[in-house]
Amino acid sequence: MMNRDSQREFQVLGKPTPKKDAPQKAAGRAEFADDISMPGMLHGKLLRSPHPHARIVAIDASLALALPGVRAVITGRDFPGVRYGNLPQTRDYLPLAIDTVRYIGEEVAAVAAVDEDTAEEALDLIRVEYEVLPAVFDPEEAMKQGAPQLHGQSPGNVSAHTESHFGDVEAAFAQADYVREDVFETQPVKQGMLEPHACVGLWDGFGKATLWSCKMSPYAVWRQLAMGLDIKPGDIRVVQTYVGGGFSGGKQEAMPMDFCALMLSKKTGRPVKLVHTMEEVLIIGHMRHPMKIWLRTGTTKDGRILAQHVKLLANGGAYSSIGGFSIFLAGAMINLPYRVPNMKFEADRVYTNNGFCGALRGHTVVQMCFARDSQLEKIAEDLAIDPLEIRRRNAIQDGDVTANGFRINTFAFDECITRVAEMSGWYNKKGKLPKYRGIGFGCGAHLSGARLMGHSASTAEMRMLEDGTVHLTTGSTDVGQGVETVMSMIAAEVLGVTVDDVHYLKVDSAATPLDPGTFGSRVTLFTGNAVKQAAEDICRQLAEVAGERMGVDPRDLMFFRHEIINRKDEKQRCSLKEIVRWGMFQQGRIFSGRGSYGYSEEKIDFRTGHGNLSPAYNPTACAVEVEVDPETGRVTVVGLWGADDSGTPLNPLAVKGQVIGAAVMSIGHALYENLIRVDGKVMNPSLRDYKMPQATDLPKLADFKHSNVITWEPEGPFGAKEAGQGAGTGVIAALANAVYDATGVRLTSLPMTPEHILFGMKRLQAQNRGQ
């Protein structure tokens, strides 16, 4: 075991620390994008396609323009017609549709008016003539010959295809004592953040465009805006506001509303604000990919996995978004948290006339873990092996290299399993609970940021102020997960100051350093390392001045509680502020630190799937106890116990919030949430009908526990790994396994609604009567 449970001595880190911006938020003083108001500001609204697939023949905006209070109407023709997207091969977005719409809700025109009511009224006055085209909604139908084609450059509607093969799957299956195949299906799930997308655009008439918006990854937006507007990135400024929940999706990318706010501003000379209604949020794209997962597993008779073969079909919706990477990641993550010596993965992401899919907390790892850990439970049952034992037998260990080339530093999976067994009272409950009560186990894993082919390095800059406090800037955003606090803690730890002495600024592309953004659980590790380095850089500069002033070798100086101290003679010390002022005022110094992380010689080969995708990997395990109402099929989650190896938690208060938040989100995914679509039309675009977990849907506090298995991850800043996504990955399978334990009903498609469970129980009863 490597460095396990080796808590280091910290001054600042490792202590539960309230979020720095929480007082403003709790007082209602945090300014979100919708709270922004500017003199002369206009309000924009978007006209959306009522058809899943149609050609736009003509748009007549004359009546709308004649409405008093309307200042401008724009269509796709007002933009340069340049497609934008995440990767060169997936640029299929337009700011507004030009000649074709591909899903119900796609943006066709935009209005700016003196208020929202007028803008809304104007939408009804825009006449769009459509020629309706045949549409396709099911990915299997979409791949058939003769199916309507969504994008000319993608024959067969295949938006992305990926495959990988490690070891020799056929030979391994031939040797296996036991082989089984199952098919699992998952549903579209929305990000569910409470702050609808919002932005204010200002194009100043001198060629400079500024967008204020709640973006998680402002630099990705910045690049995409430049692409779609066909102007230089330097002429665009993206200013991040507070982000009222992200979970990826539209806050990760430039959206039609962002382009339209800017273009409407250009036309009117006024700032223009657009805010989605919740109905719009639910209708437009950006959701978790619904998937059909065929999974074949071969094991020895004692349950050791010899091979897994996965065929995956993802319903991508009308556009690419990040979908190519989504399916790649699903395949890569088959290699965790179990040893799979032989693995084959084939996946297609298919265009259909639905809202498009992309990333959402846990990305595609969540769907794969549901499939794999549901199946593993069946294998354990068939082979009469304890469900925990089969997981232990296959568990990845510290130092492993997986078949696809993941190099595992720390991975305390065994300990996670053991802790969950203890916390949940597993061995007193499994098989011993009363009828309609059951317990299930589920596991998963995540990575701490992916090394991508394009931009993957994070950077940080730090500037000392004359009062001994610092301004810290990175390109990473706080979306509620606590970035501003943990980055400030890292800086404070190095500088020997307090968290309050570090001022963490929001991202502003005109002022903050470049960064890919906040996604993939990358920030604590990537940006954290950059911040640590920037703080060390500033310490070197200060030590130089202090050493000169104190007559001490700068290398002997340490930074501790606002003082700079000679390690060799601790009586020799002077205050940080004194050195800062001396350096600034007498020597004209600018104390400015820089740091970066992410450059790596090793690259992932995205064609073969081989390579070390992330600097660090973390396992998770959980047990869920449920009670099923035999009359209604309704599931009550009565207990949830999880354990994660998040490395060394730098802010335990935030880590707790992350792992619990992720687990509860997975309860919603497993039991309630489903964006219901009929012929491409969303039938439940309201928070009344798209049901997310409420406070009454959780176990009591005494039966909802989480434990951190502490490791020291050598790649992490101060031993840390990710905490925000992994904890949700095992929960869905655990729930499916618990429902099975309670009722005998094995559900392989999500969500596990009361009617599915009830019908399942009735089928079982009928079978039993028949025997």
Binding site: P16, P18, K19, D21, A22, P23, Q24, K25, A26, A27, G28, R29, A30, E31, F32, D34, D35, S37, Q191, G192, M193, L194, E195, P196, Y242, V243, G244, G245, G246, F247, T277, M278, V479, G480, Q481, G482, L653, A654, K656, G657, I660, G661, A662, A663, V664, M665, S686, L687, R688, M692, P693, Q694, A695, T696, L698, K700, L701, F704
Partner: protein, 163 residues
């Protein structure tokens, strides 16, 4: 514009005489007319609780409440009265200390609802707290730290006793 009507509202103990369109919701008037943006708008149909304010001490969804109906009533928002509200401030401190705030978008509504809950039940049980939070969605926290914050606030306020 002749569709404006005069309305007099008392918000956080301060009187505002304004002219609004009669169909304006209290949420719209608070945010747009009075510039009090602490109260958030999200679902617009009374499902999420981000727009919660108190009317005569009772929590309501201001997105479903016409501003004209609030005349003659005492409206309390997250901004609180100018002279301060010790209970509100304790609730805010507890939310901060217990990690109940992540993205913060649901927080004003949650805090205001807690103010109402604790004025009705000084030391609510865990179940009573959860019941009070129905109609308040939070996507970030999974609610655990919110429940803990409300327990903490209740206990802090109870210990100060009767003052």
């Amino acid at each position: 514009m002749n569709d404006l009507i005069p309305v007099s509202l008392r918000v956080n103990g301060v009187r505002y005489d304004i002219a609004i369109r009669p169909w304006r919701t209290l949420l719209e008037v608070l945010r747009e007319t009075l510039g009090m943006t602490g109260t958030k708008r999200s679902c617009g149909e009374g499902q999420c609780g981000t727009c919660t304010v108190l009317i005569d001490g009772k929590a309501v969804n201001s997105c479903l409440y016409l501003a004209v109906e609030a005349q003659g009533k005492e409206i309390s928002t997250i901004e609180g009265p100018p002279e301060g509200d010790p209970a509100l401030e304790q609730i805010q401190r507890s939310f901060v200390a217990k990690g109940a705030v992540q993205c913060g978008f649901c927080t004003p509504g949650m805090v205001v609802a807690t103010r109402s809950l604790l004025s009705e039940i000084a030391e609510p049980s865990e179940d009573e707290i959860r019941e009070a939070l129905v109609g308040h969605l939070c996507r970030c926290t999974g609610y655990v730290q919110i429940v803990e914050a409300i327990q903490d606030a209740a206990s802090q306020l109870a210990h100060k006793g009767g003052d």
